[in-house]
Symmetry: C2
């Protein structure tokens, strides 16, 4: 919403909007996302597998990433190995390119770096099979979207991730939507290891689809990656080391005692509440948005995440 007045905006976002009793049915505001989520059932939420959940601690806060091993299993495994080596601890955000990506990794592993100080990947692989696409498989969940896509014959959601697919080739792939996490690489397709990752911070760069491996999605903390000064070098690399945000640590949820893990839940993309959210995006109507779009594109749909308060 783009209100000049916060109170009006909040009233509309909530349920405080009072309409005349004579308003026709089609003029009634449709349920808001907040209302839909308030009615969701516990079974509609899933707890990500702790083997797939990463906590990246920055000086400014915590970024939570869910890996997608059904789409990029070798990358997920290699990233876990790196994380368990504490590979990322002390590395940094090396690049922020406007309307494109925020990338992190080893500052010495680029041109201005000190090659003698490049950090070892330890037991992790330096190269991996690309995993740019994977076969369509009826065993994976699939929630199609109804409004088409400029880039792919079919789009929808699978296990919380935005997915594009091409029945003609039998392949599917994670789409480069806002907040998706991809694997940086050199020119050769197999040179991505997961030691340098990027998050999409602008209009979905869908031309990257099928050219890079997508490892997962940022569940929490996107503002910590997107709200950073852009780097002045070509492609958004920072000019001075002091401009880089340091990575304090990256940890796997599975390596944190269960009682200390944040209780993060993600709305199931096969749930009725998720379908209602998609419909609210397509045809949501209130006093402010009088003209529903009637459509929604894949990358305009947010998959809700919540964190239950610790009971102890």
């Amino acid at each position: 919403m783009l209100h000049r007045h916060l109170a009006i905006a909040l009233a509309l976002a909530g349920s405080l909007l009072v309409l005349p009793a004579v308003a026709a049915e089609q003029d009634k505001p449709t349920p808001t996302a907040k209302e839909i989520l308030a009615r969701s059932t516990p079974a509609e939420w899933r707890t990500p597998d702790p083997q797939n959940l990463l906590f990246m601690q920055l000086p400014t806060g915590r970024v939570v990433i869910e890996l997608a091993p059904d789409f990029t299993p070798l990358h997920a495994a290699n990233i876990r190995t790196l994380v368990r080596n504490h590979y990322f601890d002390g590395l940094a955000i090396i690049r922020v390119q406007d309307n494109f990506v925020t990338q992190w990794g080893d500052p010495n592993d680029d041109d201005n770096g000190d090659k003698s100080k490049i950090r070892s990947l330890g037991k992790a692989s330096r190269t991996l099979p690309p995993e740019f696409t994977r076969p369509i498989d009826a065993k994976l969940p699939w929630t199609p979207l109804p409004d088409g896509d400029v880039y792919a014959p079919e789009v929808g959601f699978s296990e919380g991730f935005p997915v594009a697919r091409d029945p003609a080739s039998g392949q599917q792939w994670l789409a480069h939507c806002y907040g998706m996490v991809g694997v940086a690489r050199d020119v050769a397709p197999e040179t991505g290891s997961g030691s340098s990752l990027y998050a999409v911070i602008g209009q979905a760069p869908r031309r990257l689809d099928r050219n890079l491996a997508v490892a997962g999605r940022v569940l929490e903390g996107m503002p910590l990656l997107s709200g950073l000064p852009r780097g002045a070098e070509p492609m958004g690399f920072y000019t001075k080391p002091a401009q880089r945000v340091a990575i304090e640590s990256v940890r796997l949820a599975a390596d944190i005692p269960a009682k200390d893990r944040p209780a993060i839940e993600v709305l199931r993309t096969g749930s009725a509440s998720f379908a209602a959210l998609v419909e609210a995006k397509r045809n949501g109507r209130n006093a402010f948005y009088a003209r529903p779009a009637g459509k929604v594109d894949l990358c305009s749909i947010d998959v809700p995440v919540r964190e239950a308060k610790a009971a102890h």
Copy 2:
């Protein structure tokens, strides 16, 4: 590009890539955007009308906005009046909502503000006819895109702006792509005056199309609007006044002596070079991007802007 190594990236971005002489024609890299622009002719660039060009000075640098009076003429006129009153000088960026918008205006004109200090709009109107759409008109330039759109029957460019249109209704409108500048309003459609504006900083919120007036586009300085900390209040409003970025001044190019105006040019969206750029987005291929998307969506196309160095 998502290279780990800057040198490789720059080589690919330029023309330094050496391929074996035996490479088949289809394996040759296609021209890069940089190469296409280097070959563009002076006549392919236009100088925006100084009546439509705004310079917003922030402590961090200059944001340049081009108004779009062929789409929102009453809003353009009202914004000019506000600017000539120096209305915006000393106001601020009041809101940064992640993956949505950065909005500026009068901090006192919201809930936490001091109503007694709301700045007068002077001779500018407090309300305007909405101008959410306008008729399709053969007199306006039109460069259609070939790959369709999720939201509208037709999309393309007109005078440097991304446009969607619906031949059935005979209407067209500026699309809410990254960097487009819209007019904040209250609930009633006519309550937008241009005294509070927003720029899109995330995935194109196309559901806003036809619900809000779009006044123009940021030509330069998007990183100064997008690379800001997100506000912690609902909808990205800042919690504390000190978090707001101040607007030092907003000036119209027409009010600056011609010799002192930055010589900003925008590539004509009807030019051959622009068509080549669109084709490079669709089917560009190099050693890094081996698999062209074959398609491009409206909001993934950047309209190039350049600034000639002053000759004096």
